[in-house]
């Protein structure tokens, strides 16, 4: 199998304005936490908080484009948000294969996103299937 237990992967993403604006344009989530600096500050954040689900887009990109095979489909994924993300944050994505299930062509990963201070922003697990 192309993917082996313990294989590790890293990617760097920047939460650029076009991603933030594009996400809002498509999904229409314009909650003041994401759009109003004063509102977000009043809640204890240092600025407008970016949508956590943007991270799922980065995860999708990793699975669909960065694995050593394009023959993949997502079976399951979860995400736990640990810290806020802000516009133009640099995000460091780390993933590791934690299970290989040859009988059903399934691979399980754990992953996290860290910011440049190495603080965990989000973490979780996902399982993919390898298409024949």
């Amino acid at each position: 199998m192309i993917l082996k237990l313990g294989d590790k992967f890293q990617e760097k993403f920047i939460l650029a304005n076009e991603i933030y604006q594009g996400f809002m344009e498509i999904f229409k989530d314009k909650n003041p936490l994401h759009t109003n600096h004063l509102f977000a500050s009043d809640k204890g954040f240092k600025g407008k908080v970016m949508h956590g689900n943007i991270l799922n887009g980065f995860l999708s990109f990793f699975i669909g484009e960065k694995l050593p095979t394009k023959n993949v489909i997502i079976h399951h994924q979860d995400i736990q948000f640990k810290n806020a993300i802000y516009l133009n944050d640099e995000l460091f994505f780390n993933a590791e294969i934690t299970g290989v299930y040859d009988s059903v062509n399934a691979i399980e990963f754990k992953y996290n996103f860290k910011n440049k201070e190495s603080k965990i922003i989000a973490k979780g697990k996902f399982q993919i299937g390898l298409l024949k």
């Binding site: 079976h75 299970g99 299930y101 009988s103 399982q127 299937g129």
Partner: protein, 78 residues
């Protein structure tokens, strides 16, 4: 582990994976008897069973099962 205990473990895995507390499992149960047991959840079940019992199946073994009883036979042989 006794066969009845294996079935109990299997039931817990089915309930957890398929997210349905109402599931009843017997040796004769097949995928046709449980609404949530579709092709994708079948993969999730196999992965959960392999993890739980710390065993590995082959695709040939999985394809040969006709019901939960045959699944239990295979687990017992591991």
């Amino acid at each position: 582990m006794k066969r009845s205990e294996l079935l109990e473990h299997l039931l817990e895995i089915f309930i957890d994976t398929l997210d349905n507390e109402e599931i009843k499992l017997s040796e004769e149960t097949t995928a046709n008897d449980i609404d949530e047991w579709d092709s994708l959840s079948h993969i999730m079940l196999i992965v959960a069973i392999e993890k739980h019992f710390k065993i590995r199946f082959t695709s040939k073994e999985i394809q040969s099962w006709k019901d939960v009883g045959e699944m239990l036979n295979c687990i017992e042989e591991k």
